[in-house]
């Protein structure tokens, strides 16, 4: 019971934190602290029973009971950590809505991006589709291909805080149902840290560097980072930039409100490259995919692994590795501009409804209910923090995810992943230069110059 209360307290923290929206640039960005008090009551009223009841109420008036078939595309393939959450949620939905047949298909992440864009441009979308928030969904919304969820949202307001919709709100209208939210976590293999003489993840940057040196002296590699997937590099680089330049500055750059021509960004890139040159990174990483790097980390090759907190589920499922791993936050590099609690992340995994769907209104209700269930199961599985209010017994949530919740609770400001926040063209220009940074092709000065030139 004690634990349960702790969890719901943590969740209250999650709900209160400020999220910086991308679509609606004016609304939620400013109220970084104001949100805390107003959201608290909502969080208090989150016991399991009431939430269940309201979901049922939503189901009852979810339009007619004519049998329909809805098509859904997502990326929860067999190997995805979210797979179980989807399966369980869909099973529940089958029972709750026997009149709806859900015909769903999961695709590998990379080819999915190709597929969904092609489908959108050809007006051949499934009724419900998985999407990333901000710019990715924004392109589809601008083209008028996405069904507006404002009406349906009214029914689920009680279970889903409007702040969680910030990343999928465009011109004040809501278009996405968020699932889980994640941040970049600094995962540490405590066995290796202990070997190097550290009981905890060092809290200051100086200690952190010393720790890395100690790890190196023990013949271990501090970091693993997959160079074949550039988003993995951004998990490191964005954290370093944020802890150097500060979250507000980084957010403005991502949002296009400030120029890339920022000395702190250049300095961060140089910091990152110094770490690489000092041998803190596995040189093989450049030729590896994320799955390989993750496997290496779990096999004890690296001391640290910076990546999304969705990994908690996989770590928790590995009985041998789980006791060794801890999660923390990257230390502050420039205390004048940044502080602890400035994080990279936010709700990004989203379900949306196609405007072209013949049953769009019913699909919208269905999506909200399904999203809520996926979020719930996903959280219980440790795939991330819930965007929805959680129902049921949460005491089984793994310690790692609870630690993440604690970090998020104490957070000050979150900046969404750069490649999600920026438009497709800019994001890929950005990724291409981040890749060049990791490969040592360009330095910090060149990085900011090129980006300032190429992204207007």
């Amino acid at each position: 019971m004690e634990k349960k209360r702790l969890v719901s307290m943590l969740l209250a923290g999650v709900m209160t934190l400020s999220l910086v929206g991308c679509g609606d640039k004016t609304a939620p960005a400013g109220d970084s602290n104001a949100g805390a008090s107003e959201a608290a009551p909502a969080a208090d009223a989150a016991p399991a029973e009431s939430a269940d009841a309201s979901a049922d109420a939503g189901a009852a008036d979810a339009a007619s009971s004519d049998p329909i078939t809805l098509k859904m595309w997502c990326i929860a393939t067999e190997s995805d950590s979210n797979r179980h959450a989807y399966e369980a949620a869909i099973e529940d939905m089958k029972k709750a809505h026997p009149e709806v047949t859900l015909d769903w298909e999961a695709f590998e992440n990379e080819s999915y991006k190709t597929k969904i864009k092609a489908a959108v441009s050809a007006n051949e979308m499934p009724d419900i589709f998985f999407t990333w928030s901000c710019a990715f969904l924004g392109d589809f919304v601008n083209a008028g291909k996405v069904y507006c969820l404002d009406e349906a949202y009214e029914k689920y307001k009680g279970d889903l805080d409007e702040k969680m919709l910030a990343n999928t709100t465009y011109d004040g209208k809501h278009y996405g149902v968020p699932l889980t939210m994640n941040i970049v976590g600094l995962f540490a293999n405590m066995d290796i840290l202990k070997e190097a003489g550290y009981e905890e993840i060092p809290g200051t940057y100086e200690d952190f560097i010393k720790c890395c040196d100690a790890i190196k002296a023990k013949g271990k590699i501090p970091f693993g980072c997959a160079g074949k997937e550039t988003w993995c590099v951004t998990e490191y680089l964005e954290s370093i930039i944020e802890k150097t330049a500060g979250a507000p500055a980084l957010n403005d750059i991502f949002a296009g409100k400030a120029t890339w021509n920022n000395e702190d960004v250049a300095a961060s890139v140089d910091t990152f490259q110094k770490m690489i040159n000092d041998g803190y990174f596995d040189p093989s990483g450049i030729g590896l995919k994320n799955d390989d790097v993750k496997a290496n980390f779990m096999a004890g090759k690296y001391a640290f692994y910076m990546n999304g907190t969705w990994n908690c589920a996989d770590f928790a499922n590995n009985a041998e590795f789980f006791p060794k791993v801890k999660v923390g936050e990257f230390p502050v590099i420039n205390a004048d501009k940044s502080k602890l609690g400035q994080l990279i992340g936010g709700p990004s995994d989203t379900l949306a409804v196609a405007a072209s769907s013949p049953n769009a209104a019913r699909a919208a209700d269905y999506t909200f209910e399904l999203g809520k269930l996926i979020c719930n199961y996903g959280y219980l599985d440790g795939c991330g923090l819930p965007a929805w209010k959680v129902t049921g017994d949460t005491s089984s949530v793994n310690q790692l995810t609870q630690d993440v919740a604690k970090i998020v609770q104490n957070s000050d400001q979150m900046v969404l992943f750069g490649d999600t926040a920026m438009s497709a063209d800019s994001a890929n220009t950005y990724l291409s230069y981040v890749g060049q940074v990791y490969g040592g092709k360009i330095d910090g000065k060149k990085f900011i110059e090129n980006l300032a030139k190429d992204i207007q």
Partner: protein
């Protein structure tokens, strides 16, 4: 008079009939060809002049895409072109000579000729996706065969992260590409070699020519048309190369192995720039034609 007229009519009727027959016989082929190849190219020509993200209406911007393609710092078209030309160069100057050599040797009926022919053609039959996956396992930095082998023979210094390092990535693509299609070209040329009449060879041998001289002065000139076809296939094939690169490096590291095809995919599906994607497509088609004509011309020149 009357007779002439009716003959003329009959001829006309016959011509019409013939025309109709030609049309009927061409119809299936034309239908396929025009709808799948010609029409899309015409459409691409138009969309190459659009600023279009694929979702909304595009805006006509004339040749601005072409201009950006040649000048942009973040769209590495020249690099992509250079890579595919390098691939073509290796194909023409390493793959084809190797194929020719094997074809000439096998043309002399050595022991086990049939077995060798069978074996050399095997990689051609394997799907490129399979070949890519297989070579990924060979190149894997930690557990791959290549690095393991180098360890075994104490050449640790030669170990590389083959597909991850800029210096080795392109080479890592070129090797399996060449490897896979040597058999294809070999068999084409072998067919030519076998077509050279034995009388001609024997006559040359009687005149005191060695086997190599016979090959050089009799066989190769005769199979020149086949070599020309091989060269055209090798060059245009290199310009079009996609599957292996997609699987082995996906254009990386740092876009050092980008080729026009991966660039097109990048524009279409990652950057939502359908207009620019079409622009690169148009350039690619133009280049393929240009090289095919150039090679044909070069062979003609030589003949004269």
């Amino acid at each position: 008079m009357e007779r002439d007229k009716s003959a003329l009519q009959q001829k006309r009727k016959k011509d019409l009939n013939k025309g109709l027959t030609v049309f009927v016989f061409l119809l299936p082929g034309l239908l396929l060809f025009v709808s799948v190849l010609i029409a899309p190219i015409v459409v691409s020509l138009y969309t190459s002049m659009l600023d279009w993200n694929g979702f909304t209406q595009g805006t006509f911007i004339g040749l601005a895409n072409f201009q950006e393609l040649f000048t942009s710092g973040s769209i590495n078209f020249w690099g992509a072109l250079k890579n595919s030309l390098l691939l073509a160069l290796f194909s023409v100057f390493i793959q084809l000579p190797l194929a020719l050599l094997l074809a000439l040797i096998l043309g002399r009926k050595p022991k086990g000729e049939r077995a060798y022919l069978t074996i050399f053609f095997m990689p051609v039959l394997i799907s490129t996706v399979v070949i890519g996956q297989l070579w990924l396992k060979i190149y894997n930095p930690d557990y791959g065969l290549l690095n393991r082998f180098l360890e075994l023979v104490h050449l640790e210094g030669w170990k590389h992260i083959w597909v991850g390092e800029e210096e080795t990535a392109l080479g890592s693509i070129i090797v399996p590409t060449i490897w896979q299609y040597v058999g294809y070209h070999m068999l084409l040329m072998y067919a030519g070699v076998k077509g050279v009449s034995t009388d001609l060879r024997e006559a040359a041998m009687l005149d005191g020519a060695t086997k190599w001289q016979t090959d050089r002065y009799i066989v190769i000139p005769i199979i020149k048309p086949i070599i020309r076809v091989s060269v055209i296939f090798a060059v245009t094939g290199s310009l079009k190369s996609y599957d292996l690169i997609r699987i082995l490096t996906n254009g990386g590291p740092f876009e050092s192995t980008e080729v026009p095809s991966t660039l097109i995919e990048n524009m279409l599906f990652l950057r939502n720039r359908y207009g620019m994607g079409s622009t690169i497509t148009v350039m690619l088609i133009a280049l393929c034609f240009a090289f095919a004509l150039l090679i044909s011309a070069a062979f003609k020149e030589k003949d004269n």
